[in-house]
Amino acid sequence: MKLFNPLTEKGIPLDQHLRTWRELDSEPIDPDTADPYTICRAIVMNGIEVEAVFFGHHLARVCTDMELKRELAYTRYIEAQQQKAVNWLLPPIASPLQTTIAYEQVAVDLTSWVARMEPDPYLRQAYEFGVLEDFDHLYRYANLFEMIERRKAEKVVDSLTEVMPGRPTRLHHRHPADNVRDHYDKDTANPLSRLHALTVMSAEQQTMNFYMNVGPQYMEPIARQLYIEIGMIEQEHVTHYESLVDPGETWWERLVTHEYNEVYLYYSFMRQETDPRVKAIWELHLNMELAHLHAACDLMRRMDGREPEEILPRELPEPVKFEPNKEFLRELLATQIDLTTLGTGYVREAHERFERMQQEINRDGSPSEEVIDMHGAEFGSDYRVETEGQHPVEGLRQMAEAQR
């Protein structure tokens, strides 16, 4: 097989990227017949494009060269068009809460993949830590879903991802200072580590955006409050993952990393996509991103006087895949559920700063606990999808829950 080399593949020339409104209005995915992972891939790529747009805006705000500013404005406009074409794939028939469940499924299976592939043990720990929290969010939202929309999350996740308690959501509220991790070292980091951190950070950032915007559309107090509570945790997650990135990287090297990562992900998803119509979009965008990447590489050479090869993988890493991570997650549940953070590290005991934050923030109850209690009161027990047997942690098994 011929290796795909992003630095030598040509792509579509930059001046041919503009699309009409009709072209951008992608025909939505039919949720009843689609592979749930097709929807997951669209959610990831939307988050990646949103990050491309906002990163571009921040870069423009510190750019003093008018000519350069115009050049950047053009590619950023294209990123914004790509974001529309991707996000418009989402089924309009799905409610915001149904889409929320898909967002958490993305967080679970994407972060699990990244954790499994991450070469650096400290970074790997950061992903393993975070994934148990989104895993719990999936469970809380699934209970809300059945309660207020009378539908089952099983139809959304389709048994690819299990739904059961993770690290309890009420315990995710750490003191913000304890959400800041140490960063990788830009001079020695494995290039794959840069891509991982950017990918997961972008996904979490879009999750944060999504919850802050759709939460107030609900009128049931429990729904409104759960979106606030989990929305605040997604903001913690952005802090957690963004702090893994070396702040000493130049703007231009960060731009190259962004474009390379877009190439990498579109290539990955194009390879895995089963829906031919969606696959065609991944392929088209891949060919656009190649042109963005080459332009960004030129800028890095021109502005920093350095070669992009210094920071990029020698060859394209193994393509990112959406696949079930049930055993991996069960292992993490069994071994890491009681972790919290202290400074830049992880501890098992609830330390003083953590306790103080908890008392302050949860002092008049936790929506994430109430949603389970309310569901139990109405339906007799909590909602779960346990395809591989009972919960690995004894205290979190459903029988124990029901007896309480």
Binding site: D32, R150, R151, I222, Q225, E370, V371, D373, M374, A377
Partner: protein, 156 residues
């Protein structure tokens, strides 16, 4: 903060409607994935539920929405048109029956139109009814809706 209570909520009209929408969705899936006798049975069940659901809605839900929500008359008029379209499609399908040549294509059309209709109801009617009606009224209406459906089924 307004405290979310753990008092058991009583099932109201909107809960009943959402449950039936979910059931309708499942039955569509079941018909699609079944063959032979099982398909026939699933289709009979779906057809009966659809008829009972839409008729009781037309009698109880849409008039209430028309009278109480903003632009209620226009909103419900569109729902009634969608229901009429679905009714016609359903009648055709009942006549041809599963197993006939045209069934699968027509069935897909019915599924798309019914599910889209349900989303329109949820977004443009039910959400507003929950906001405009006192909770007790909606609980009482749940009962009325189910009783009406039973009577319709008995006379069908």
């Amino acid at each position: 903060m307004r405290a979310a209570t753990t008092v058991v909520r009583q099932k109201d009209l909107i809960d009943v409607l959402l449950e039936q929408h979910a059931l309708i969705e499942e039955l569509f899936q079941l018909v699609e994935t079944s063959r032979g006798k099982a398909k026939k049975e699933a289709f009979t069940e779906l057809a009966a539920l659809l008829q009972a659901h839409e008729e009781a809605e037309a009698e109880i839900v849409h008039p209430l929405a028309a009278a109480t929500i903003d632009a209620g008359i226009e909103v419900t008029q569109e729902r009634l048109e969608e229901e009429a379209e679905a009714k016609e499609l359903l009648a055709q399908l009942i006549k041809s029956g599963p197993g006939s040549a045209a069934f699968d294509d027509d069935f897909q059309q019915l599924r798309a139109s019914v599910l889209e209709h349900a989303v329109h109801e949820e977004r443009y009617e039910f959400k507003h009814l929950r906001a405009s009606q006192p909770p007790e009224t909606l609980v009482e209406l749940a009962d009325k809706f189910l009783k009406r459906q039973k009577r319709l089924a008995a006379t069908a």
